[in-house]
């Protein structure tokens, strides 16, 4: 179960267990803030999916479902943007080492599309190694008011 450390402020944080249930929890948390920020339905879908993909990477590949490792989720709401950071405690991965899922050789692979979809759906994506271990993925979606 996670812990809120934010309330109505611009940033909300949770420390979640390394389970698939946490994927749903993180998605709900972020979508609630995104909805209140005024993102349109199509953007909500893109944000929610990006959070799910990142959480799955953190829980499955990063923390490998370890009961001793947590996923730190931080959501910040600015006047024109929503920024989500998701950090695991795993061994980390090299963003540049990921195979291109659109290349002919990889097109029919069963996996390897998560980061690609996040890049397609969010406006910014940053990945950094944490010390002593872990990976932090930070993604931002800008609010375009009509």
């Amino acid at each position: 179960m996670g812990k809120n450390t934010g309330g109505e402020a611009g940033t909300v944080e949770q420390f979640l267990d390394s389970t698939l249930e946490s994927v749903d929890s993180a998605e709900s948390l972020v979508l609630d803030m995104a909805q209140k920020a005024g993102f349109p339905e199509e953007d909500l879908h893109k944000i929610g999916m990006s959070v799910r993909e990142t959480m799955v990477n953190a829980v499955v590949h990063g923390n490998q479902y370890s009961a001793h490792k947590k996923v730190h989720v931080s959501v910040s709401k600015g006047p024109d943007r929503l920024t989500v950071s998701i950090a695991d405690q795993g061994k980390g991965f090299d963003l540049n080492g990921l195979a291109d899922p659109l290349s002919e050789a990889n097109l029919l692979r069963n996996s390897g599309r998560g980061i690609f979809l996040i890049r397609a759906f969010m406006d910014e994506l940053h990945v950094r190694r944490l010390s002593p271990s872990g990976t932090e993925v930070t993604m931002t979606k800008y609010l375009v008011r009509k």
Binding site: P101, L107, L108, N110, S111, F116, L117
Partner: protein, 114 residues
């Protein structure tokens, strides 16, 4: 709701009606199990009706690809029916839309099997 799958026969085509969410965990494994079971029973013409699929993630996309290659490698055919806009968009972004034979109408999809 996670995912609900039901199968029916239209001539010699096996139609799988899929409803709900195909995501990592129960949703994608249910689809995988259903397709593997059909292939193991020798069913060679499979039409996946995704008209009631509300959500699919990269794991779900992976299961569609896996099902496609499994059926094709066994000499069968797997076609898709009734994609929602979001599923269609995802398949286009990932360049998989042209890999699958996609239909909007069940009758024409069934006729398309050779």
């Amino acid at each position: 709701m996670s995912v609900k799958l039901s199968t029916r026969q239209v001539g010699d085509v096996s139609v799988v009606d899929v409803a709900g969410r195909i995501t990592l965990g129960e949703g994608s494994s249910a689809l995988r199990d259903t397709l593997r079971d059909m292939v193991s029973k020798g069913q060679k013409k499979i039409l996946l009706n995704l008209g009631e699929v509300s959500y699919i993630d990269s794991s779900g996309i992976g299961e569609l690809v896996s099902g496609f290659t499994t059926v094709t490698n066994q000499g069968g055919q797997l076609k898709l029916l009734g994609l929602t806009k979001r599923v269609k968009d995802l398949l286009q972004i990932t360049k998989l839309y042209t890999v699958f034979d996609v239909h909007d109408n069940e009758a024409s999809a069934v006729r398309a099997f050779t």
